[in-house]
């Protein structure tokens, strides 16, 4: 379900059997940071236990000849509610959160993320929109990252950025944020969806339950976008995968990912109609 939280610019909730994810998106105006090549630099001193948001800088370079900075950025953060604690110990939860947050950040802040970062720029070299994506894991029932990606995609479809008018007076640029008018985030349709493939023994499964998660020695997180391209692959877990099995896993993830995307788009268009017709959502009950 989308559009649950009024305060957020966009929101979405996904229930995948027991896994319950709530994603809230807020857009804020911020400074365009100096670019770092393939870099994600932390501006604040992070302690080990600090799960608060990390400020990440756009990792890819823009193609402007004069080296201008005209890209907004996306900051992702994944947080777990205490109910997850009965499945994992504290340090493991923290590691999972950092890993998944980094995975999402890397994915969405590049060209492969699909979202048009240049449209988020307000004034070149100075201000841009920053999209903060915060995912909250309300309950854990396996297959965490898939659900998070589905929810993020839904929330992005739902997000409305206030329209921004740029005025120039005597060479000084100024911008005004409208109150009523809003626009959608360009390129949200191109955002990829993740499929987690678990390796158990000599073969693999998709969409694992917690029990199956415990059995798997290695996990592969594959992101597929609407065109069927593979946007990102990352292995997780302490086991090893043979190269042939690896390519097989990626292949099956790709086919399944496309199916998931098509179905998701159908559901999201239904959601839009529901919101237009002002039908109440089920909500949190």
């Amino acid at each position: 379900e989308t559009n649950l939280i009024n305060q957020a610019s966009g929101s979405c909730r996904v229930l995948l059997d027991q896994t319950d994810i709530l994603v809230g998106i807020k857009v804020e105006i911020g400074q365009i940071e100096p670019d770092n090549v393939n870099d994600e630099e932390d501006e604040t001193n992070l302690e080990e236990d600090d799960l608060s948001r990390h400020n990440n800088i756009v990792s890819t370079e823009d193609e402007d000849v004069f080296g201008e900075r005209n890209k907004g950025r996306i900051v992702c953060n994944i947080d777990c509610s205490p109910s997850v604690a009965k499945f994992f110990e504290f340090k493991k939860i923290e590691e999972i959160c950092i890993e998944y947050s980094q995975y999402m950040n890397r994915l969405l802040n590049g060209k492969q993320g699909g979202i048009d970062l240049q449209s988020l720029c307000i004034l070149k070299n100075s201000t841009c929109w920053i999209i903060y994506i915060d995912a909250l894991v309300l309950n854990y029932g396996g297959n965490l990252l898939d659900a998070i990606f589905v929810a993020t995609r839904g929330a992005l479809q739902n997000t409305r950025i206030p329209k921004c008018r740029v005025e120039e007076s005597q060479g000084i640029f100024d911008f005004e944020i409208g109150d009523e008018e809003t626009e959608i985030i360009e390129g949200w349709r191109e955002m990829p969806v993740c499929v987690t493939v678990n390796k158990i023994g000599n073969s693999f499964i998709l969409d694992s339950t917690p029990l199956e998660d415990n059995c798997s020695e290695a996990r592969l997180m594959v992101s597929i976008n609407r065109k069927g391209q593979i946007c990102s692959v990352q292995k997780d877990g302490t086991g090893a995968i043979e190269p042939t099995l690896l390519t097989e896993m990626i292949r099956s993830a790709q086919t399944k990912g496309k199916l998931i995307l098509n179905n998701l788009d159908l559901v999201l268009s239904n959601e839009e109609k529901r919101i237009e017709n002002l039908i109440e959502c089920v909500g949190f009950c």
């Binding site: 100096p34 670019d35 770092n36 090549v37 393939n38 870099d39 994600e40 630099e41 932390d42 001193n45 992070l46 990390h54 990440n56 370079e61 193609e63 402007d64 000849v65 004069f66 080296g67 900075r69 590691e95 950092i98 890993e99 947050s101 980094q102 890397r106 994915l107 590049g110 060209k111 492969q112 070299n125 100075s126 592969l220 976008n225 069927g228 391209q229 593979i230 946007c231 990102s232 692959v233 990352q234 292995k235 997780d236 877990g237 302490t238 086991g239 090893a240 995968i241 043979e242 190269p243 690896l246 390519t247 990626i250 292949r251 790709q254």
Partner: protein, 410 residues
């Protein structure tokens, strides 16, 4: 001797000064023998304390000078020397003078004026003494030194770089508008050719195992400590691996601050995942193996991760930890529609660099221990990239085994 004692001493001397003058004024014209003895005692006390003070003060101030590194402050030296000389002279003069004066006081008791003048002379000499003593002055100087020292340390603690005014934007480091031509790589490298590789082990003597890997300009060093006792309470049936990854502050284009940022923490996690499948941790219960990797020169972000895996695996072997096989790491980049192996920093920065893949591989069991890939790419290219990286890993593996063999021969 510190400020407190200086103050104390001041107080005491002030007190003695007061005491003596008071006694002279309040007492009868005749000074009794007792008071004479008292006076003498006091004077002796002053003298000894002065001597002590001189010695301790000299050492104290010289120490302070060393600390503050203002040895060349000739003014201060002069002052201190003067004061010491004055102290010397005055102690002598005091002891001789005052006793005489007081003796005269006892004899010439009718002559009030004389007595007064003598008294005055006594007090004057005291004043002169304390002036030259220069305790307050020295104390003041000492306080100044302390303040200067604090300021210096504060300055050092603050940012070591000069920041621009608020609202200023950092200039771009480079104008990146070039496209990468896969046929025109630096040093005429082919698209599937690794950079020149160099490995050394046993570079850090204190560690259980260590290794140093150079991949072109990329330099990584790794130290392994362990197996050592795990500090976590409770039994653990298998050992644990603790990987620590750090870019040295000078290694990247932009300075990396000392606290670890999320990228480095993530790379540490990735290292862990890449290395654990190769180690026989079940033979090391209740133990922990610490791996510290530092990148000295990062010529390519993904390739530094790949080199780190290679380096850590070598170091583990050097430490004598049982393992199934080495883990070697390789990285490749996607440019336009083709794949280039082992990209360096200049290639990663190019416009048409679409993404990259990092892979770590264990040839003995033909297993990929870790894979990370980002960038929009179709399945065919992805599969091809995996193949290329696996080949490169096998090449690197042969170099690793050769390095270890050579070290044993030597």
């Amino acid at each position: 001797m510190n400020l407190l004692s200086i103050r104390q001493f001041e107080k005491e001397t002030d007190f003695t000064k007061k005491n003596i003058t008071e006694k002279c004024l309040n007492s009868n014209i005749k000074l009794t023998e007792e008071s004479n003895i008292e006076l003498q005692d006091l004077l002796l006390k002053i003298k000894t304390e002065m001597a002590n003070f001189k010695v301790s003060a000299k050492s104290f101030y010289s120490k302070k000078l060393e600390e503050i590194q203002l040895k060349n402050d000739s003014n201060l030296n002069e002052i201190i020397n003067k004061s010491f000389i004055a102290i010397d002279s005055h102690t002598e003069s005091l002891s001789s003078l005052n006793f005489k004066n007081f003796q005269s006081l006892t004899t010439h008791d009718d002559k009030q004026t004389e007595k007064n003048s003598d008294l005055n002379s006594v007090t004057n000499s005291f004043d002169q003494f304390f002036e030259s003593y220069q305790i307050p002055f020295l104390k003041k100087r000492y306080l100044e030194f302390e303040i200067e020292k604090q300021n210096l340390t504060m300055k050092i603690k603050k940012a070591k770089r000069i920041l621009g005014p608020d609202g200023s934007i950092e200039p771009p480091y480079e104008i990146k508008s070039e496209k990468l031509n896969i046929n025109n790589r630096e040093f005429n490298r082919e698209s599937k050719q690794l950079r020149p590789l160099c490995m050394r082990i046993d570079t850090i003597k204190q560690a259980n195992g260590s290794a140093y890997v150079e991949l072109g300009d990329l330099k990584v060093v790794c130290a392994v400590y362990g197996p050592r006792q795990s500090l976590k309470p409770g039994n653990s049936s298998a050992g644990s691996l603790n990987c620590d990854f750090k870019f040295a502050p000078f290694s990247c284009k932009k300075r990396r601050p000392y606290p670890k940022d999320t990228q480095e923490k993530e790379y540490g996690l990735l290292l862990n995942q890449a290395l654990v499948p190769s180690l026989r941790l079940d033979l090391l219960p209740k133990s922990v193996i610490d791996i510290y990797v530092q990148v000295l020169e990062a010529d390519g972000m993904v390739s530094s991760l790949a080199a780190a895996v290679t380096c850590a695996s070598l170091a583990l072997a050097n430490a004598g930890i049982e393992m199934y096989d080495f883990v070697s790491g390789a990285s490749a980049g996607y440019v336009d529609n083709s794949i280039i192996l082992d990209c360096d920093l200049s290639e990663e920065e190019k416009i048409n660099f679409n993404g990259s893949i990092f892979l770590s591989y264990m040839p003995a069991s033909n297993e990929v221990t870790h894979i990370v890939q980002w960038g929009e790419v179709n399945y065919a290219n992805s599969a091809k990239a995996i193949e290329i990286c696996v080949d490169a890993c096998s090449q690197i593996h042969s170099v690793m085994s050769q390095t270890l063999l050579n070290s044993i021969k030597d």
